[in-house]
């Protein structure tokens, strides 16, 4: 499903984001990506849908190349990959429904999407998805009138109407309080179980990772330092992932 080989990212400032990461994720997995801040979790997720271009290494998602892809090729990969952001990244002034419809842009003819004339089936899919994430009756409200937890659900609905093969979530709950965090994680787990959607979520809280992830990948200073089932993560191994390293401190 996802194949990463020798992935490195060095930012123009000289900061090392990733340092030789190789990773395979099979269809239907729920991977929790853990590590302290600056360990490379965001960089890895952003490389997977081409928001960040790596300095070295190759990525393919669903047998399509991400690295070295043409702009059209990259768009077709992105259309298959839902991305949920830490800050939700909604268009605050647009209605909840319009925000969700943004997820169907890759499917709609350009002129229709420019005029905002989405097909009835896309609108129906958006409404259905909003019901599924537990948001009913707020379709026509402005996105910024919702609470943080509701906004993150809108963002998840936007990713789901893409009908993606993979869902990437970059610290999806770190702007939310603990109760909301759990409900968002439960939603991601349900999506993974019911739709068989591959989910990779970066988390900085260990207990959420072990509760919801089936597999845990630990990053430290841009390298994979742990990869195994969630059940088998020993406290010592967890400590090693989060242990601060001098290079990490400088970032």
């Amino acid at each position: 499903m996802i194949r990463v080989r020798g992935l490195s990212k060095r930012y123009p400032s000289g900061t090392v984001g990733l340092d030789g990461v190789s990773l395979d994720v099979a269809a239907g997995e729920f991977v929790a990506l853990i590590g302290s801040s600056g360990a490379g979790k965001s960089t890895l997720l952003r490389c997977l849908n081409g928001l960040v271009s790596p300095t070295a290494g190759t990525i393919s998602v669903d047998d399509r190349p991400v690295t070295g892809a043409s702009p059209a090729g990259l768009r077709s990969v992105r259309a298959r990959v839902g991305f949920v952001f830490q800050q939700f990244n909604l268009l605050k002034r647009l209605s909840v429904l319009d925000n969700v419809l943004v997820g169907s842009l890759a499917r709609v003819d350009v002129w229709r999407s420019l005029l905002g004339r989405f097909h009835a089936e896309d609108v129906e899919r958006a409404r259905r998805t909003l019901r599924r994430v537990g948001l009913e009756g707020v379709e026509s409200q402005r996105a910024d009138t919702l609470s943080g937890g509701q906004q993150q659900r809108v963002a998840i609905a936007r990713a789901l109407v893409q009908e993606p093969r993979v869902l990437l979530a970059d610290e999806p709950m770190s702007s939310l309080d603990p109760t909301l965090s759990r409900s968002v994680m439960e939603l991601l787990r349900d999506i993974n179980r019911e739709d068989g959607l591959t989910v990779i979520a970066s988390l900085h809280v260990l207990d959420l990772a072990t509760t919801y992830g089936k597999r845990i990948v630990g990053l430290r200073a841009g390298r994979v330092v742990h990869d195994g089932p969630a059940a088998g993560l020993s406290p010592a191994a967890a400590e090693a992932i989060f242990e601060s390293d001098p290079a990490g401190e400088r970032r």
């Binding site: 928001l51 990969v77 990959v81 839902g82 991305f83 002034r93 842009l105 890759a106």
Partner: protein
Amino acid sequence: MRPPVIPVVQWSGWLAIAAAIIWSAWSTEVSPGRLIEGFPFMLDFLRRMLPPDPSVLGQALRGALQTLQIAVVGTAVGAVLALPVAFAAARNTAPAWAFYWTRSALNVFRAMDTLVYALFFVAAVGLGPFPGVLAVVVYTATVLAKLYSEAIEAMDPLPVEAVEAVGATRLQVLRWGVVPQLVPHFLSFTLYRFETNIRAAAVLGFVGAGGIGFYIQTYLRLLNYPAASTVLLVLVVMVMVVDFASSRLRARLV
């Protein structure tokens, strides 16, 4: 943290400001005595303006309409010209050299007000409302380009990235990530500029560039105060109506 201001520096600053005000007042012959002596003449002036002469109402309304039309065309064309310039004058959408040159050029053009441009365009294309329109266009374009570019710089990049991440094309990213963030601000700035342009266009007639200003100036020169007061009343009512409607609209936008 702001560094603490040394009291001596603070006091000398206030002293310098006070000195500048006193010096300017002295140079401009400010004299409360002369103002008080002038009061009877002002009252006499007001008395002679009343009652307004209704026979020039038609003329005044035609002049007001032309002022409104100058402001409408001038604002619309100015706003359209300002759009591309604004993207060249925003730090986040233009290369550094383009940003620098566009901002500098805008500052130069903005140094002159609409009336100064009107003098220039009357000399270039002759008397009438057309040089007035040109003057409003130029000044509006430079002011709106600056305001638009500030809105572009204040845009949130995160939703734009989210639209890119769903596999949208560049045009779609513009339509769904950028436009929804900018349009309310652009419309609000344009309406605000329209309100100011009505006032600016009202005095264009003083230099022969069309509109209601021509009648104000003519009747004051002819010492026909009742006629002048009719024209002024029409102007005041028009400005108030436009301001009210426009600010109601703006309140709904942002």
